[in-house]
Symmetry: C2
Subunit: 277 residues, 2 copies
Amino acid sequence: VKTVAIVGTGLIGGSFALALREAGFSGRIAGVSSPGAIREALARGVIEEEMTLAGAAAGADLLYLAQPIGRILRTLKELGAQARAGALITDAGSTKREIVAAAERLLPRGTFLGGHPMAGKESRGVESADAGLFRGFPYVLTPSDEEMLNSGIAQEFVWWLRRIGADVQVMTPAEHDRLVAGTSHLPQLLATALARTLADLEGAERTAGPALRDMTRIASSSFEVWRDILATNPDAIRDVLRRFRTQLDEAERRVGLDSMEELFRQAAEGAQRWRRS
Amino acid sequence: VKTVAIVGTGLIGGSFALALREAGFSGRIAGVSSPGAIREALARGVIEEEMTLAGAAAGADLLYLAQPIGRILRTLKELGAQARAGALITDAGSTKREIVAAAERLLPRGTFLGGHPMAGKESRGVESADAGLFRGFPYVLTPSDEEMLNSGIAQEFVWWLRRIGADVQVMTPAEHDRLVAGTSHLPQLLATALARTLADLEGAERTAGPALRDMTRIASSSFEVWRDILATNPDAIRDVLRRFRTQLDEAERRVGLDSMEELFRQAAEGAQRWRRS
């Protein structure tokens, strides 16, 4: 990889650029974004130059699409047949079925690799970008076929992902969307519903400790990002909400009973699985 | 205050002792606890000496009861008429109606001031104690009458709470219990139910990012502490669970709709109220 084009120089795109640099990448890093976002990304030293999407399609070895889902879909359409064999187009969109299906339809075979870094913050924009954003967290890749991962450029990309500290996980787009319904979309809806419940509880802030802060941190997430996530995964979200309600009902039934201990134990054991130091 | 007795030298009691020292308290700090807890607290330098509860009642100006609720109730019974006028007994129990009612029944008038620091960690024990634990968070006081706060010893205690960085909030035991049902007990049940939902989702850890970690951190909380909390506040917990379900149902109905934006906005505004930098 000699030239990387970051399409969408916000939190994720900016963090990927900073992480690459910190990991020793010495090629060119260009940005494709709105004039305002490009100005900020240049000012923060996240990219060194601006490119058009057509310029990136012609000149970049790696195109990193770090936009909201709807805009990634539009970018794929714009790229279309411009995508070059030997170059890799990858994305960081939060659901994978629609994006991977669109890429299969629109791009030449073997040029696209779907991705989703399980990293982020409730704040957006390149000013929140952080070279360490991906470190220690899963980075899901959803190749349309496993062979895709054997190309030289895909292997180089995976090598850089590991260099920036990501925990690379390969799965199908469907498996990804089913899992993130539970690990990402459900927590978001819980935080939103919790924050709204407490917004109506006068004086709540007078007893707000660190646990509440943790539990509602993502209630400040951007709807611009979440609109598309929720719209592209409704069935899996409804399924996991149904299972969550069963667990919450069970917990409510055991309020005041010693048998609640079993639920606490199972919850703590579950949380151990995705807990890191 | 010349002599402080920490009754229960775990996370909260140990943190209070460390915080006092860091804030310049130069009197004696003794511990009343099990032999093992005393040994650890001495080793960590959290207390300088061991006391019996009778010794603390006779010799300490401030008794700080930092035990689970059930044990605080037993300590109040043991203290009973031993409590000295001029000394202050305060507690850090997580619900306040039962404790304050018991203290009114068992202790001489004017000797007890209920308290609850909105601070903590999912880990327990003096090894997690931290002088900064209370800084920037609410510390609720629930005097049985407001006059109680005018005694010299109560004023001195409040002065130390402010010195250790706590945000002192005065309210009735009933108001406290109603508010923490939403700001503490509901989040705990949500984290427990979320962690159990995901414990059944095979491969969940492969897509677990920072938001999930935040949302299930307290799923590792100790049931020994939570048994008594839940048992002493069931009605307020059921009430807030009912309101939470209404919000979650509303969110589910709007999955995939632009009208979800309104819920995100209200949630973010709500969360602003208890968010600190």
